[in-house]
Symmetry: C2
Amino acid sequence: MRDPEEFNDWYVEIVEKAGLADKRYPIKGMNVWTGYGWKAMRLIDSFIREEFDGTQHQEVCFPLLIPETEFKKEEEHIKGFGSEVYWVTHAGENELDVRLLLRPTSETAMYPIFSLWVRSHADLPLKTYQIVNVFRYETKQTRAFIRMREIHFFESHTCHADFEDAEKQISENLEIMERLAKRLCLPYVMCKRPDWDKFAGAFYTIGFDSLMPTGRTLQMGSIHQYKENFSRPYEIKYEDENGEHQYVHQTTFGMSERILGALVSIHADEKGIILPPDIAPIQVIIVPIYSKEDKDTVNLCCDDLDSKFKEAGIRTHIDDRDLRPGNKFYDWELKGVPLRIEIGSRDIEKDMITAARRDTSERSQLKNNVAVDEVRKLLDNIHKDLHQKVNEEMGKNIHAIDKLSEVKDGINSIFWCGDEECGHQIEDTTGMALLGEPVDKNPSEDNCVVCGKSTDKIIYIARTY
Amino acid sequence: MRDPEEFNDWYVEIVEKAGLADKRYPIKGMNVWTGYGWKAMRLIDSFIREEFDGTQHQEVCFPLLIPETEFKKEEEHIKGFGSEVYWVTHAGENELDVRLLLRPTSETAMYPIFSLWVRSHADLPLKTYQIVNVFRYETKQTRAFIRMREIHFFESHTCHADFEDAEKQISENLEIMERLAKRLCLPYVMCKRPDWDKFAGAFYTIGFDSLMPTGRTLQMGSIHQYKENFSRPYEIKYEDENGEHQYVHQTTFGMSERILGALVSIHADEKGIILPPDIAPIQVIIVPIYSKEDKDTVNLCCDDLDSKFKEAGIRTHIDDRDLRPGNKFYDWELKGVPLRIEIGSRDIEKDMITAARRDTSERSQLKNNVAVDEVRKLLDNIHKDLHQKVNEEMGKNIHAIDKLSEVKDGINSIFWCGDEECGHQIEDTTGMALLGEPVDKNPSEDNCVVCGKSTDKIIYIARTY
């Protein structure tokens, strides 16, 4: 496990050096998305969209500003967010009659409108999502992608006829997360958070945590069952088949740019980051190796290959800067490009190209005439190997322990009676936080590590970000 | 020409009925993008991205909030926007030391960072763009897509070594606009705005205006040459080949959701809107025509066809609601779906389907086994015909006149000496505004309509939104 301070320094430096974000913007906690970082984020977004469009969610876009009066309708929610919202109080020269806040999340923007959209059982389920910027006035130290004050955010919001149908949505969301994580090469555990750590206003919360190289977990997203907690204050009701008015049951699913932060942290080595092929803005970097004499021949061959790759939908770039090949290798390794192609005169004579994998440093010679197919195979293999590697790494760091004195770095799995007092004692003794009950645990039984009561509840604990 | 008030009422109603936006959000001038409207907007965005990615612009994303101190660096700019910005003054319980404003446009967010990104001539040209939400505290009456307080906005920002290179960018932008307008079936004129009507801080401004059915023009976008007007206060300098420091020359290109507003206004008839196929969320609506007996057979045939269309990348939807076909026709005509396919038992027996064009109401029988190709052809024809029709309509309403007393509804083309006083007199006499000199006019000469001085300057005037 890496030392948290050393890791933090490395992370701050690598995000900047790899050109993923520029943190020199004159407001703390608000970074500039550079072309490279934004492209990676937009690729992540495209997979999210694919998943939610494919499961009959409608993409919508609600206003950023929320009137204070709407925001204050749900008590728990305001308690959870009230201290971290930004307030718009003036417009032009005027003081506003009702203060407006920048959305920290969109429940209170959406639900007054949902109450107009939902009229009858035929309008249900209502399944929507949006990808927007949200704002939270963080007081802790900010860090690119991981703890920001302006956050690139995904949120789905659904309304259902009853609790059971809402539960089905939660199951669908879990499946979506599984497919997404596979696509993104993202290892995770999902836990039902303890009651005192659920989302402000939720009936229950399932969190997705990834394990960072320091042994601490990072929450990347969460799924919430709201039951009728919001539909009552916002009066989201429908007429059922018997003509009676019922409150809808609601769910949400939230994810953020933290996914990119986790990927950058997890897929890395001493040379820099290693981007999984699907989210790499440049999947293949082509480096011409030439002398003065054969420059034109080599460049022509590079251009030709580049066009072929682009036609096949592979994201390529030719590095034709006036630098030594070694310097170019260094730059693209740092920036995490999954595959490098080198082309020199000797390769051209043999009608071959040289490929070097970013993750394993493995080099291979490919026939130029089948380069597209071979590169596609290599990218697939990189994807599979990266995914397997990080999943194994995560698996190795989930420890089943019997006594609190045995806690190790990483995630610890213990038996717990479910009692809040025992829960707090676990946290106090270990200095770790309760992530919650793993959603996909195997049924078993043992004694609570604190009180010794027999229980079938397993709980994950870890140091968290 | 339509009566402005009648048109306004129609527009407000059609936007709502077609389900493009929901204006019941509890803040004036901030609407909810519904699934249908947002999809159309995102399709427009995708063509914009295609154009700017294809011309080596990098998509970036800058923070929404701008410190007051940065905003105030360029005097003209603050004069232009100062009265219409939203101010964030508090966060949580704290009053902020420096007030933050919601971007009305991003010059003052980007340029402090551009001064860090641009160091040497090798960093130029710097070509960036972003698609974001911007905020303007409009005091005039708001209207969906056309005059909003939260605006879905496109902005490109470029830096160049000198004025000439910046001028080349302006030319590229004009070409981009031409291609985009063709794709979107959007008629427009482009005019260099008179000096007193240019963008706050610009050296010159070219505006894109479309003609609305009322005879008034609507500005949909604008291109600006900034020269060194911003690079000096923001100190965006580079070292040239001789080791000397030079200020960059800058350009911007702005467009907004007004494009959708213009399209909805221009492509419409008494049945509703007519969406150009490329931006239609649903390009083909399939309506099954069945009785109780043949329902299953017909539905099966519809499903089969729907899959084939979707595989071919055509956006289709089957309307299987429990309604009469006539009611379904009515709904989808109102929402502007360019093509309707009807399938009944009689069609199935003949292995045919019936297609009905939204724009011409023309019906045709297509062989089922070549339906995909035939539908693609029909969509292409709809696109071409719509584009031609609205371009002709616009052309018919540009009137070359000799005397101010002859002004007609629409755009009037007159000769003007270029003198500001004569310009204001034109506006006062006609009640119209000067759009500016058309960018692509033919060279000719005549006398200024006001002072009679000989001139080769043509100017467009019109009532504007």
